[in-house]
Symmetry: C2
Subunit: 493 residues, 2 copies
């Protein structure tokens, strides 16, 4: 031991080193119950989850069962998205295990239950970027983040590229593990240390729990991830692609996002053909990524894919093999607090809609009757970020008009929507007269939004449902935490 | 605009969304001066730098000049290491631009100046892991982190794999960018957005500044990064390798770190031959990585390289092409606060020494006369983490004994050192009698540390210098922030 002064001026009090060796560290826990105990989780805490396994996810249900069995109550569930597979959550809500939910998207029975008043406290519906902001600014502290880990090692290195349920990038938990007080990786594929290459490094993970299965990889590709082929969809996609072509934005460096729906992908297909014909090389395609986007990358039409979440197994496989298929966190993807996210560099985005209104506002949160059946996800983020935001929609669906005087729920503000593409033609936001001019000049059918509404109303066979006046069951937040709309309790059923 | 209540029970006050489009974001700044202004940096602030360009680094000098020109004074310089190339820093110390320094290693004129009392406040010498701990626990807040970026794009994505001074992994600034109030990337290679693959993502960077050159890539490989070939070094390396062979640790899963010095690499070479002969496959080699380690990986002797910093251009090239050559942050590498760092999973580490004493304490911080000429870097981290820590040293150097009664400066506590390997044989820490027995049983020359000291003293031609009794000029911290020793002012010169 060195001979040390008790205090050093300009440094402070001196604590002499007493160095010793410890045991070989190992973060494995024998069960979820033990891991939960180790985190010191208490009633009222916030637990976070991510949805890369989408409708194949088993981790949220497993962990919620363990939290319930541990006697925990009054939990705040901060989950990036909820799917039909998460229906067992309704029981946990009934028993008071979960009393608050913050999420960016809900499809399936949980949305219906919430719409009928299952929770006393309104659900907060965030955008993907808004959630990242709430986490990284400290507005929504996370007590324990549970990571569905397709592969992990004993020290908490996590990979989305390996394992039975390899889902590709892990863009959502990348944010959570940076801020959570505790992080638990849940895996069904424990690999020798050190796992390489990893998507989440060991220093961000506290505990590792092995379970028989984290889910069904086939459930990752829930919903369409193929271009639509029916006539009406192709008409809409053709109109959307024509708008992009005429916009002047389709030049080298073009940056593009589409949803994973059939119309969006059919639009991307048409845009891809145009790029090929022109010899245009785009900079990047971003968002949730499908095998279709991988084809665009591999055809050389884009230099890079920026991927927060793989929407199918082809995308996951590409991420694992191709360095130009880059993973990114939700903060990098869409955070409004990072001085410019990836979405803020988009040339164009093609998005879907449940409803569009005369102010170009878009609803992707509820059905026409007000039932929760979605949420922004990255919709509002990308719409604000892109130079050109195109919303594609049919005029009617299931007999209801989709172009309406006022959306049932406002998810994405009309001020950030430039073009509505339908099978009857295009409407351009009056705030963009120069764009309308370009589209008309290119010979495209440009109608007023009122014209589209009139056509939709004429084609509709059902009257729009009454808007509910019940108590608020959910609040739809914008990227910055302001409120776009509230969702009220439904009295039906 | 939706019709919103002013307050929602269970949610709070409602701020209605006022969405608008912004300009296309771009983080480029026309000059360092403008970037510094944009950070709002003030007198007394803490600025951080990293040393991946080692003795080729131009960024620290460029930025310090700009900070000085901006009239800033009394800055705290938090830099991972300082090299001879940073000699201009002495002028900034003289003029009061820098009045405090925290670093893990100093070689060259700055160390000499500090030893002669250039700074009024003692320098804090941290370990690589201890620095990461101080940053991530909030003990050492960083106002502005400057990142020497071999390549960057206009949004702050940074790559160490591309550009004229591609240095490979960026393990040190990975920690800084996560905690700093502002981050400025300084690059000489601005690439089209988005740069892929990137090592630091855009959401962690605030400003990007282009400069003519961030440094000389040839300076990265400062010091030896080839195995030694002289007889004495090979004798020491042979003894060290024999100790590893006899330790029982050389089995599948073996995890290994060596320094980049000639004796360390010669030891690694001998260990590699033994692994090849036995058909042993190691798990990982870690630390600063050289082309020599790359050969071990490519020969299949290790499954992975865990790399906080590339020590030569061969290593940088391997990192860019091989996913099994994994980058890691300083926190993951050596942080004592992460529940188990990579060093804590080491089977064996081979480290150098300026001096070793009868308690197995090691000095790599000062020369025998007390002049600062090094620092722990990862030395103390790896010594504590490894199951077997071997320190290699000649008995004498420049006429002075290297095995001494008490080290001039205690960098790495003897409680974490198991074996001293010299050309005259091995000494085993008395705390490890079972290890001494194994080594003897294998026929190795095991002497007492007192024997080694006696041999060194007999061979020495110069008497040990007097230990200085001047005021404290530096404090050597351990991983956990406790103090291993203080360094006092030198009166010579």
């Amino acid at each position: 031991m060195a001979d040390l002064p008790e205090i050093v001026e300009g440094f402070g009090p001196v604590t002499p080193t007493r160095a010793a060796r410890g045991a070989v560290p190992d973060k494995r826990m024998p069960s979820l119950a033990e891991a939960i105990r180790a985190t010191g989780l208490r009633d009222g805490a916030t637990v976070s989850f991510h949805h890369h396994l989408r409708n194949g996810d088993a981790v949220l249900n497993l962990v919620m069962d363990a939290l319930s069995a541990a006697g925990l109550r009054d939990l705040h569930l901060a989950v990036t998205s909820l799917f039909p597979v998460h229906a067992p959550l309704i029981e946990h809500i009934r028993h008071g295990v979960v009393t608050r939910i913050t999420t960016s998207f809900i499809s399936g029975p949980v949305g219906a239950a919430i719409s009928r008043g299952a929770l006393a406290v309104p659900v907060t519906l965030t955008t993907h970027g808004g959630r990242a902001r709430a986490l990284e600014t400290g507005q929504m502290p996370i007590d324990v983040a549970f990571v569905a880990a397709p592969a992990a090692d004993a020290m908490g290195n996590v990979s989305g590229r390996l394992g039975r349920a390899a889902c590709g990038t892990l863009g959502y938990p990348m944010v959570d593990v940076g801020v959570a007080r505790h992080v638990v990786a849940v895996t069904d594929t424990l690999l020798p240390y050190p796992l390489v290459p990893r998507d989440i490094p060991q220093d961000k993970v506290d505990h590792v729990v092995e379970v028989p299965s984290i889910g069904d990889p086939q459930g990752i590709a829930s919903g369409t991830t193929q271009p639509a082929t029916d006539a009406a969809s192709l008409e809409i996609a053709g109109n959307a692609a024509a708008a992009i072509r005429a916009s002047g934005l389709l030049q080298d460096g073009f940056a593009f996002q589409t949803g994973a729906g059939g119309i969006s992908l059919a639009t991307a297909q048409a845009v891809g053909h145009e790029m090929q014909a022109r010899g245009t090389t785009g900079s990047f395609a971003c968002g949730g990524i499908t095998g279709f986007h991988v084809k665009l990358l591999e055809a050389g039409l884009f230099r890079a894919l920026m991927d927060v979440q793989c929407f199918d197994l082809e995308a996951a496989a590409s991420y694992a093999r191709n360095p130009a298929h880059q993973g990114m966190s939700a903060a990098a993807y869409a955070g409004p607090h990072v001085g410019g996210a990836v979405v803020d560099r988009l040339s164009a985005v093609v998005l879907g809609a449940a409803e569009v209104d005369l102010d170009f506002n878009v609803n992707v949160t509820t059905r026409a009757n007000g039932m929760i059946a979605g949420g922004s996800g990255g919709h509002a983020d990308a719409a604000q970020g892109a130079r050109l935001t195109i919303v594609t929609t049919r005029l009617i669906a299931a007999g209801y008009a989709k172009i309406v005087p006022r959306v049932t729920t406002l998810t994405t503000p009309g001020a950030t929507v430039d073009v509505i593409a339908t099978e009857a033609g295009l409407a351009v936001n009056p705030a963009r007269p120069e764009l309308a001019e370009r589209l008309r000049h290119a010979g495209l059918t440009v109608l007023s939004i009122e014209d589209l509404h009139a056509k939709a109303a004429a084609a509709a066979t059902k009257a729009p449902p009454e808007k509910s006046r019940g108590p608020v069951v959910a609040v739809s937040e914008y990227r910055d935490g302001s409120v776009t709309d509230v969702i009220r309790r439904i009295e039906e059923g």
